[in-house]
């Protein structure tokens, strides 16, 4: 077996990445610009013994992938802004019940139904805390069809390892562009499976964490008794809805298993950092325009760096604290009116974080980013 070169759109690459990661259940409701993922999975999943269900709506889609995950399968759904909003309630249920699954959100311009066929990046904050209550999720953002393939696999691996719904935060541009995708042979792809209980069924506590703060997961039909609830629960999985100590212990762990493992989830491309005075921060399609602008600025002698986040949540706070003193100015480039910007400000301090927004419907051109680089750099 050797590497295969494919010519995929981002949507198809994400679907193939899911199959490669072991996804065998997809439930979804088609919505532009994510529909090709559902369409492709409806054809592809039966070929590998998987199940595709077209659901009545996004609430049910999210519920179905949680249920199928507890049935023992790796599961995924795909949607865009309006559908992502409808999924939030059950994404919270997934966080509370620690259910591994992958939610693809191909971002379009919002709010509400916005511009269905055109690009946006306005769901950065929603992908973190779109549901109510205290919790942490993982969100990854690809910049190319190749990364749609690679990061979907990684999303499944992280979902399984940390038992958490994992978001793949795509955008319309990356979803619909076609590019070279190199697919490694199956035995060269790292695939992670959820940890199963090793104790006897009568000794099993379904929400007792292992050392990494994640409880081993028994699925329905494996002989273990499981009780799954969105109510605050103890290690047995039983509801404890009047005991603040149980609540604290549970919520602290739900958040800390992500926060304290941030370094293992960290993934970014860093360019020209050594002598940089200005660092651009971007992700997804905007990062490609940013890269073109940074390379051009470098040729003109500007000491500019690019930090392209592939893992957006958890945010690499420790990294930004570390570089905060070395960099004079930061410039966040994103297709929204300021979301990731706040996270950067929070970590490096306000006043020197500049912003180049775009309101959706179009991608920044390298020229406008280059102009902004000059402006910030020269202190205008």
């Amino acid at each position: 077996m050797k590497m295969e070169v494919k010519f995929y759109s981002g949507n198809v690459a994400a679907a193939e990445g899911a199959i490669a990661a072991g996804c065998r259940f997809f439930a979804g409701y088609p919505i532009t610009p994510s529909s090709e993922i559902a369409e492709y999975m409806s054809r592809r999943l039966p070929q590998v013994g998987g199940i595709f269900v077209q659901m009545e709506d996004e609430l049910a889609s999210m519920a179905a992938i949680l249920g199928a995950s507890w049935g023992g399968l790796k599961t995924m759904t795909a949607t865009s802004g309006p559908g992502f909003s409808l999924m939030q309630e059950n994404i919270g249920l997934g966080a509370m019940t620690e259910t591994p699954c992958v939610v693809v959100n191909v971002q379009r311009a919002g709010p509400s139904t916005g511009m269905p066929t055109l690009v946006g990046q306005g769901d950065v904050m929603q992908s973190r805390w779109g549901s109510h209550g205290d919790y942490e999720l993982i969100a990854l953002s690809p910049s190319s069809p190749q990364e749609c393939f690679d990061l979907t696999i990684r999303a499944f691996n992280l979902a399984e390892e940390y038992r958490v719904p994992t978001m793949l935060l795509m955008d319309e541009s990356t979803a619909h562009m076609y590019e070279k995708v190199v697919v490694p042979p199956a035995d060269k792809i790292k695939v992670v499976e959820r940890k199963r209980p090793r104790v006897a069924p009568e000794k099993y506590l379904p929400f007792k964490p292992a050392r990494n703060m994640v409880p081993p997961m028994a699925c329905a039909g494996e002989g273990y008794r499981v009780h799954v609830t969105g109510l605050t629960h103890d290690e047995r999985g039983y509801p404890q809805t009047t005991d603040p100590e149980v609540q604290e212990k549970l919520v602290r762990r739900l958040c800390d298993k992500i926060r304290k493992n941030e370094r293992k989830m960290r993934d970014m491309e860093i360019l020209h950092m050594d002598d940089a005075e200005l660092a651009l921060i971007s992700f997804g399609i905007s990062a490609r325009s940013s890269k073109a602008a940074v390379n051009r600025a470098r040729k003109k002698g500007y000491k500019v760096a690019l930090i392209r986040l592939k893992t957006i949540w958890p945010f690499p706070e420790e990294y930004f604290e570390k570089i905060a003193d070395d960099i004079k100015n930061f410039l966040v480039v994103e297709i929204n009116y300021g979301q990731l910007k706040y996270e950067v400000e929070r970590n490096v301090g306000k006043g020197r974080v500049h912003h180049l927004p775009k309101f959706g419907g179009a991608v920044h051109t390298p020229e406008e980013i280059y102009a902004k680089i000059k402006e910030v750099y020269n202190g205008n």
């Binding site: 010519f7 590019e179 070279k180 325009s289 051109t365």
Partner: protein, 179 residues
């Protein structure tokens, strides 16, 4: 080197497919990097259609075509809309029966792609005739690569027809080169 190509015409001519086949040929059979971005949404379903391809030996950062090095148009509307975007010194390729040129174009390569397709009895392969011509004129892709990509994109019973269409267009392109 980065080359930007734009295909334009009206819905139903196979303009989107032309972009797809061109980029696919570059990636799968000519070992280059390429990005194909179709126009997406209502405009792709009737009216003006366009598709865009960036080809490079290096990594491609910005994926969109702003000022094409090569513009291939198969309708008057697409010509009028996109010709002003053509890069200085860029190459314009037109279906000469469908596009009436105004003044001032520099480097124009003309072919009667639709007429040639009609002579073959299948107007629908006009886009493939044009792809052949484009390949012969520009030499960005090898003929072998574009042929493989065309044959992979069409149903088996239409392979012979499309191969002939491609070859006829390609020969015209080579002739144009010699002139």
């Amino acid at each position: 080197m980065r080359v930007e190509i734009k295909f334009g015409g009206y819905g139903g001519q196979g303009i989107i497919l032309m972009g797809n086949i061109t980029a696919r040929a570059a990636v799968l059979y000519d070992n280059k990097n390429a990005i194909f971005t179709p126009s997406y949404g209502p405009e792709a379903r009737g009216g003006a259609a366009s598709s865009n391809v960036v080809i490079s030996d290096d990594e491609i950062d910005y994926p969109y075509v702003t000022h094409p090095d090569i513009l291939v148009v198969m309708s008057q509307g697409a010509y009028e809309k996109f010709a002003p975007l053509l890069k200085d010194g860029g190459k314009l390729i037109v279906d000469e029966d469908l596009v009436k040129l105004k003044n001032g174009e520099g480097d124009v390569a003309k072919v009667a792609a639709t007429r040639i397709a009609e002579e073959m009895g299948k107007r629908i392969v006009a886009n493939i005739v044009m792809l052949g011509f484009f390949t012969g004129v520009t030499k960005i892709l090898s003929y072998e690569a574009i042929k493989k990509a065309v044959l992979a994109a069409v149903p088996e019973r239409f392979r012979e027809l499309n191969e002939e269409a491609l070859e006829r267009g390609y020969k015209k392109g080579i002739e144009w080169q010699k002139e």
